[in-house]
Amino acid sequence: MSGSGKAHHFAMQLVEQAADIMGATELIPISFAHIDACFYTGQSHIDFVKFLLENDATLSVPTWTNNSVASLDDVSFRPEHIDPAMVRGGHALMRLYAELGCKPTWTCAPYQLPGGPGFGDHIAVGESNAVAYYNSALGARTNKYGSYLDVACAITGLAPLAGLHTDEGRRADIHFSCDDLPDQWKREDIFFHILGHIVGRKAGRRVPVITGIASATADHLKALCTAGAASGGVELLHVVGVTPEAPTLGGISEARERIEVTPEGLIQAHRKLSTGGDGPVDCVALGTPHFSLSEFARLIELLDGRAVKTPLLISTSRGVREMLAAKGWLEQLQAAGIQIPVDICTYYSPKIQALKGRVMTNAAKWAYYAPGMLGVQVVFGSLKECVETAVRGGLWRDPALWLTR
């Protein structure tokens, strides 16, 4: 524990206030935190962490950091002159959280890095997709902790025992059935993005359980969780036979509402996400959340040694980029003309210069936020369609894909 200083006392006040509001009578020790307060939104963020540092705050648990607004690694992606206050503030905030003792991961997909939490661990996480992934895919336990409270949990090493930290809070209350969807519909990565989008819209903040999915990779679950968190407020979902807390439907679900996922529903959701309609593509943006090593492996397969003609940006973490470099893939990708920013995501302002006009993406979360944040039009497609489009220098639709039929 970090002692009895003023910072610790303040952090404890915040955790206890949250516990009061949540109706928690106990606090539970946590073993890990991933904080969102390092994402600069104004001077108050700087003042908060400075206050903690001046009052001798220390972290009680390993604490990793979410994306920043500006990369410390390559400043050219978001040049300072576009929004000096934002870029300088972002950089200053990153240095202050590193000083506080955070592990500077700067990623929205911390679960792709080694050494994180596992099944049954109580943790405190802020980033919505990471909350959903840790809860759903790994069976770790966290509520969604907003800025400041996330840091307060990391300092005290405690969280209110309520919500998704409890067994009762983790039971499903809305059932989505893919039982009658033909298997061919479930093969492509795009299926999981669209399914997540549908689940989030209908479930809101409830806990969904999904049946009829025989298998799903970590990347598929990332897509499902992220889209559900973005379009609704899903913090935990279960996939029967796939995620660790749902070996059977009966064991996890008390759902009274059952929703049938249909081909028509998938096609309609795809259209809604593709706000720009089909047409010339100015840029392709991948990596929301940050691209994993296995996604890069698939991308290299799809590239098949070819270079890109349309700008292709892929956001990832420093950690995954190091793995790419160790395999010799980073040079190969850069030689193909692909840009790989780290520390940041690409859908919020101040915008990255290449991102304008009609932008293609395979990520439902990017498709959901970018039109409002960047004023761009979105073409939504599978990873294969995105890669072929970038390579050919014009929109390519996969004739084998169910969505075009």
Partner: protein
């Protein structure tokens, strides 16, 4: 009635027709609602008694509320029906850092409905709410 952040406040009532997200839907530099989908886009929250049934959740909301309190663009008070951790935390942090405040209380739905009929409200330190003297 529950006090999420105590203090006294008095001001003109701004009743929101829909929940507001303090991140993405509100600009702390001006105090103005910027969400293009919000029916009250363009309204300024500064010094108002803001009434909304609940807020729209965003993990970055506490930072934006604290920033608004720092800059003096925040509401004088927020009256909710659904308790909100993000707003309570943002206010507590601003109080500690800047010694400035935004009162936050929750009331029952019927009380909310009753209070929303007034033009000016006064909130006491113990959370008691009633029409302000100006409300005639």
């Amino acid at each position: 009635m529950t006090v999420l952040h105590a203090g006294t406040a008095e001001g003109a009532v701004l009743l929101l027709d829909e929940p507001l997200s303090f991140w993405g839907g509100f600009d702390p530099r001006t105090g103005i609602i910027i969400d293009v989908h919000h029916p009250q886009r363009g309204q300024c929250l500064k010094d108002k008694i803001l009434m909304m049934l609940e807020s729209r959740g965003s993990g970055s909301a506490p930072g934006n509320l604290a920033e608004a309190i720092r800059l003096g663009t925040a509401p004088a008070a927020i009256i909710l029906v659904q308790p909100d951790i993000n707003l309570a935390i943002g206010t507590r942090v601003a109080q500690t850092l800047y010694g400035k405040t935004c009162v936050i209380i929750t009331v029952s739905a019927p009380t909310f409905s009753e209070l929303s009929k007034h033009t000016y409200l006064h909130i006491s330190h113990d959370g008691t709410v009633g029409p302000a003297l100006d409300d005639v």
